[in-house]
Assembly symmetry: C2
Amino acid sequence: MRLSEIGEFGLIERLRAILESQVIGDDTAPIKIKEATLLLTCDVLLQDRHFKLNYPPSTIGWKAISVNVSDIVANGGNPLYALISLVLPDMDLSYVEEVYVGIKKASQFYSCEVVGGNVSKGEKLCIDVFMLGQAERFVGRKGAREGDGVFVSGALGDSKAGLELLLMEKKSYEDFELKLIEKHLRPTARIDFLKHISKYATASMDISDGLSSDADQLSKASDVRLSLLSEKIPISKELATFCKKHGKKPIEYALSGGEDYQLLFTHPPDRLNPFLSMVQIGIVEKGEGVFLDGRPLEPTGFDHFRMI
Amino acid sequence: MRLSEIGEFGLIERLRAILESQVIGDDTAPIKIKEATLLLTCDVLLQDRHFKLNYPPSTIGWKAISVNVSDIVANGGNPLYALISLVLPDMDLSYVEEVYVGIKKASQFYSCEVVGGNVSKGEKLCIDVFMLGQAERFVGRKGAREGDGVFVSGALGDSKAGLELLLMEKKSYEDFELKLIEKHLRPTARIDFLKHISKYATASMDISDGLSSDADQLSKASDVRLSLLSEKIPISKELATFCKKHGKKPIEYALSGGEDYQLLFTHPPDRLNPFLSMVQIGIVEKGEGVFLDGRPLEPTGFDHFRMI
């Protein structure tokens, strides 16, 4: 059987079985060392898959750190240390230095530190980041309870629209388009939600593959039904403008667009914090699956092996 | 300036300057969390750079874990947890499963646990391992003292000979050749030296780029001269046979051959433990540089960017 037949999630299941692991399945792996709960995660950015070489290199470095911070924060952790594993073609030193300027800026922004790494020569640029965080309490995908509200940390679908705009390679972009592109190139992990997630969330993950896929993962892990309302899903005014212009439906971008790096989490509805940009998009019910406006919602997000 | 001009070590210096890091430079990065000294490291195996797809896939998995354990042990740490970041072309599931069987076997052998990872699609297979270990005391490259002996944990140069034999793609191999190939394909990290390094070594690193390069690194980090004797450098009888057959000099394999994953360390000569396969190959003196039989030894080991 080829990987394209079994798909990303099928592959992960098979590999987990070989490792006989009980741990794998959340955005980070929680481990205990001397009373401390540490969270480990890794995420890679690959040339021509996650970025193109003509993107501003500092944004590539920024994003490589941000996507890992997003995983740590989603599980209630504070990002602390990172290693960078670089695979590099023979390219200009200044390009690699610019990538590192982005890495440094992101590390400062999230108050974490790059303490090491590795460089190897290869045919395409590949930035693999490993991150270690520390949590008061690990919050994974399992734990959503009947009666909880389902929340997201902000507008969804912007990154997908930004990517489409980038691929159009227009000579000039309007302001709202630049904002969407910025969301794709330089996402900000929701570190402002760290205390809230750590304190109140019953289940949590980041939205990296698209809401429909990620909600499906959370529903399965928690063994509950998530009932969502499409009118509650936050859409930015930039995405609304983009969709109007191109005759697209914002909800489809929100459901299937990956790489938004917003958080998806659950807790009792009255825990809503009005000082954070959180929005309740549904409720947790007994049962299984994800429902949107009363109808079953199929996961349509990103599968690394099936899509391409 | 291109990376091929500045070279691997020049590049690392430039990146370290951007990060303003004091930590980077050893085989692992030591961090402190709640009184615990944790060691972080990562190392990658790339298709067509570090291995070919026709190698037995389980050996690729074994080696990916072993090279990381080697770094942790070199710094006096016990390997505990690993993450695996995989980049995969669309290939047979059974191949990837075999790689994981090797990963599982190695994890069991070294008593560490793979707790997570990430899969992405790419053009070539890439196995990037991140490992966390714990040390009673961090032992880095800095710390060798005048009067210390210079030691290695076993025979050097086998892996390079094994690689050359592999590349010959012979229809059948003699026994000594198979042993050399095994050293290249399936190196064993010297976890048997862990307590010794942790307790006695003043400086330590693993020999992954070749003795001449790695000794140069240790000498610079410790700001001492290493005076080595070629007749003391341990050569396996398999390498001796190989060199005799092909008209090569074993010492050249020992000095420039990478990927042996033996340990290079220093401590007072009387700390020699006869129950371990350690050999004193020289002494630490005041001064700088590495000398072999009284003559300066140039680093001729592997540089990822200059060599290729």
